[in-house]
Amino acid sequence: MAGGTVVGLAAGFTAGYLMAPKPAPTVPTVTTTRPVVPQILRIGYATNPVNLSPFKHGSTSAVLFTDIYETLTFHTPDLKTEPLLSNSWKPVDKLHWAFELKKGIKMACGKYDFDAYMVQDFFTEMCNPTKPGYGWAQYRSIVGAKASDKYNVVIETSRPVSQLPHLTAIYPAGIACMPHMKEYGEDWGIKAAHATGPFMLKDGDWAKGEYVKLTVNENYWQDIPKLKELRYVIIPEDTTRVIAYGRGDIDNLESHSVPPEAVAGLRGDPDTNIHSTVGLRQVAMMLRTDRGPTSDVRVRKAIAHLLDREKIVKSVIGELGTVATNFVPAGLFPFLPMTGIPNYDPAKAKSLLSEAGWKPGAGGILEKDGKPLDLVLVSTYQRDAKDKELAEAIAGELNKGGLNVKVRLETMATYTTFVRDPNNPYDMSISGWTHQTLEWEHSTREIYGKETAKYTKSPYSRSQWENPEFDRLYEEIIAEFDSAKAEKLMIESHKIIAEELPAIPIYDKRELYAIKKYVKGFQVHPDEWGKFRYSKAYIEKG
C-alpha cells in the first residue's frame, strides 16, 4: 500500500515501544486458585485465506490446510520423510507405489473412516482433467490411485517418480473427507472443511476478512490437542497487527506476518518467544540464458561476483533470511557439495566482463560494440518480504560495477504472466521457490529443466536454460529407485548448475514466529506452510 516505508517504520517503532520493559506492579497480587484459561489461540495473520479445499487455489490458505488435512507421508522438522496416514510404502514397479494405511482413523466428522477407498476417491477427484484444480496442477505426474483392499492403496504415475513418498507429504495431497466434500460441492473449503487432522472448519466459522475459526477435532486419532480453537485473525496492516499483538488482542504472529522491522523490538519483549528456523524457501535471481548479455556465462558469473550478498541480505532482509550457501536451501540435500556460488569479488567481475568484451564506456557504463550493458531486473513486490527493496539493492550493487540495471516492479499477477513468456524483454528476475517436497524434481527440474518430448516445460523455468547433460541426468535420477545411486547423479547434475549459473541464490528464508510466552508446546517447522505447529500447543497463564 502507499506509504509502505512509513508503515514499516511505524511497525518497528511500535514493536520497540510496546516491548520496552514495563514497570513492575506496585500492588502485589495474591491468588489462591489458578483461573481457568480458555484454550483459544488467537493467531495474527496478514493474508486473507482464500479457500480451505485442497482442490482450490492454495498458497495463501495453505498454512491453515495443514491444521485440517493430513497426508499419507509427513516431513519432519529435521527434513525426513516419515509415515503419517500410512504405515509403509514400496514401489511396485516404475509407475506404481503401494501404500499400506493406518487402521482405526476416523474423519473429524466422526461419521466416516479413513481408508483406502477414501484415498482412491481423493486422487481420482484430484486427477480429474475435466475438473482441473490446484492439486491437479501441482501433481502433474500422478494419474490416480486404486484401493487393493480397505487398507492398501496403489498410486499410479504417468512416468517413473522414484521419490513419490516425498511428494505425497505436501499440502495439496491432504486427504479430505470425500463424502462430505461431495455433499458440500463448491462450498467445501468455504463453509466447511474437515479431514483427519487436529482441527476442522465448521459451518459458519469463517467471517471473511475478519477471522477463520478452526475447532479441535474431538475424534483425532493422535493425542487430542489441548487447544479447543485456533482463531486466525486477519490483520493485513503491519503496524496494526504488531499493536494488536502488543496489547494482547492476539497471542502470536504467524510466519510471514512478522514485519522485518518489528523483529528486533519483539526480541526485546520479555513476554515473547521468537521461534525461528531456516526454511525451505529460497529467493534467487534468475538470469536469462537465451537472450541478451546474460546469455554469456562470463557475464552471469561477473554479476554474481558483483553482489555482496552478505551485505544485501543483512541490510534488506534482516532476521527473516540467511545468505544462501547452495542452489537449494541449507540442509535440504546434505549430501550435496558446496558447489560454490561465486563470492563477492568486484575485481574478478571486472576481469570476466572485460574478457566477455565489455569495456568502460560513456558515463562509466560498460559497452560492447557501441551498445551499453543495459539489463532489466523484474520482480514482484507482493510475495516475499522486502521483494522490492531486494531488487533495488541488487540493481544498486550491479550499477556500481558499470552495469545499467533498471528495476521493473509488478503486481504478483502481472509478474506471474510476464516472467512466464520468454518473449518479454527482461534479463533477470527475482524468484522465490519453496522446496517443500524435499525431492529432486521439484527442487531443481521445476526451476532449470527444459521441455522435452516426455516432459512439459515448468512455468518456473525462468532462466530459459537448456543443458542436454542436465536433462539426461534428470531423467536418470527420477527413474533411479536406488537412493545411493540417485544421490550420485544428483551431485553430478548439481555441478552443472554451478558451472552454468542460470541463477544466483540470494537468501534462504527463515520461518519466524513471535509467540507469547504463555503459549506452550509450539513446534516450528521449516516448511513455510507449517505442519502441526499447534497440535501440541496449549495456553498456560498465571
Binding site: M1, A2, G3, V6, V7, A10, T14, Y17, L18, N48, V50, N51, S53, K56, H57, P129, T130, K131, P132, Y134, W136, A137, Q138, R140, E186, D187, G189, I190, A207, K208, G209, E210, V233, I234, I235, P236, E237, T239, T240, I243, A244, G246, R247, D249, Q382, T411, M412, A413, T414, T416, T417, R420, T456, K457, S458, P459
Partner: protein, 305 residues
Amino acid sequence: MGVLSYAIKRLILVIPVLLLISSLVFLFLSATGDITQIVYEVADAKQLEAIRKYYGLDQPLYYQYLNYLGKILRGEFGRSLYSGETVISIVLKAFPATLVLTISAAVVAVMFGFPLGVISAVRSGSILDDVSRVLSLLGVCLPAFFTGLMLILVFSLHLNVLPPFGYGSIQNIILPMITLGLVIAGNISRITRSAMLDVMRQDYIRTARSKGLRERVVVYKHGLKNALIPIVSVLNVQVGHLLGGAVVTETVFSWPGLGRILVQAILVRDVPVALGGVLFFCTAFVVLNLLTDILYTYIDPRVRY
C-alpha cells in the same frame, strides 16, 4: 415530469452505463494477463489448455463477454476463480460493513465539517476562520493511512481505550469512522464556507438583516438553507466514493468491507468478483445520485424535474 417518472427514467439510463462499465472492466482485466496462468501458477502449458477449456476461456473474448452478460440477466454473477464462492455471496457479506463505515463516516463528516464551515464563513477573516481553514486543510491533506495509524497509536496503544482492529461492536467503528470522516469533513467544511460566503453576500440576506432579524435566524434560516445544494452535492460525491471502497481505511483497521475485496480481486484478476463488485458499486452510486436529486426538490422547491 413528476419525481417518480424522473426516477424511473434515471434508473433506465443506468442500464447503458452498467453495460459500458462492465465492458471496460472486462476488457481491461482480460487484456492485462492470462487469468489461468495467474490462478494456476503451477500449471504447465498442457494443463493450462484444459483449464481454459473448463472455464470457457478458450472462446473468443466477445463470446466470453456475451456469455457473461447472458448469465447476469439470469441473475448469475458467477463464482470467484480462487475461492469458488459465489460473487453474490461475497458482495452481500461484505456490503453491510462498507455501508456501516460509509454512513458513520458521513455522520462524522457532517458533524464536524458543517459547523466548521459555517463558523468559518460567518466569522470570515477572524482567527476562528483561520483555525477552521487550517483544520479543514489538514483533514483534506492528511492521508487516511497516516491519520488511521496515528489514531491507533494514541487511542489503542498509548491510552489503550479503543481496539485497533475488528468489526461488530460500537468500539470497533469509532477509529475507522473518524479516520474516514475527517477526510470528508475537510471537504465539507471548505465547500460550506465557500457556499455560505457566496450566499451571505446576496441581497435577500441584506434584506433579512435590514428587517431586523436576529443574526442566528439570518444565518441558519436564510443563509444556510440556500447554501445547502452545493454542500449536498459534494457530500453525495464523497459518500459515493466511500461506497466504492475506503480501501486504505479498511486495510489499516482490518475492516471487512467490499473495497478491500474489490482491489484484491482486480490485483489477482479474479474477473467475476471484480466485475460483480464494480457493477454493484456503480448501481449503488447511481441510486445514491438519484436520492440526492430527489433531495434537492425538498431543499429547494424551485427545483423541478
